[in-house]
Symmetry: C2
Subunit: 149 residues, 2 copies
Amino acid sequence: MSDNHNSAGAWAKKYHLASRTMIERILRPYDLGSTQWYVLYQLAHQGPTPQRDFLALLQIEKPTLSDVVSALVRKGFVEQTPDPKDQRQRILALTETGRGLWETLPDPIALILSIAFDGVDSDTLDLVATVLRNATERLNNYAPEGNET
Amino acid sequence: MSDNHNSAGAWAKKYHLASRTMIERILRPYDLGSTQWYVLYQLAHQGPTPQRDFLALLQIEKPTLSDVVSALVRKGFVEQTPDPKDQRQRILALTETGRGLWETLPDPIALILSIAFDGVDSDTLDLVATVLRNATERLNNYAPEGNET
DNA sequence: GACATATAGTTCGCTACCGAACATATTTGG
DNA sequence: CCAAATATGTTCGGTAGCGAACTATATGTC
């Protein structure tokens, strides 16, 4: 991205890209992207879920979610139905096809983690996570507006 | 991406997204994206450069670079001319407009780093960078093929 | 010199991500 | 009860990223 002249920042990006590329390589035969996988993961484990809940779950914005969902609907893996209680909301659920697919899927995350962080002790991993979590929070708190008061 | 159930992996992604979002917020008034910024950075500091060199510099693939370059050419910030020595290669250089723009640009990376990692001591930052660098290398080495022997 | 191979870029089609603007539906305030 | 505000989703247009397939140019090799 540019951040060649720093270290942690640049490597966070590169790590992210490498893992995303790998997840997508694993998922390609199944016609799924990384974010699509996570939507299926949620639906398989938690059952039907309002679409809006995925915003916080995936930490993405509405247009991104809208795209991901419509890809899954187009492929026939997910069903999107209006909530009778609130006509604004949509409930997402696995279709039969989607559930069938899920059964055959590998867990790409487990694979990535075992390759990427094998042999790193958990204290170190916790430290890394903490530094990055704090960095993320600072960026997100700063970004929204420049104003506080 | 999914990696909600791990720690360092998930936060590397979230940090990356937060910083990219912020860089793009800073650059939006100038009609530039994060990767586009880095191309200008290189050209401003190193002068005209063969397009192919940016593949290693930015660690991106050819189609991505092709897109970024054509966006910059379209906007009139960069000039793409064939290398007389080798008709396959293209040389990239700043236009007058591009150089003019560059002078007025803030350095988004410095801003990000100061916000994100302010107060973190450099030993810790080095450790984070090392863990992520190793993770990236393992992923990249594993990915290309599954075969060794 | 001719043919095979390697290199540089582009194009196509896709995922993933965002902000802005929009349509609807619900909730709140007067 | 009705107008204003809020919440949910979609659409549009953009950046950033990839693999596969393609063109054109160079470089071997026989």
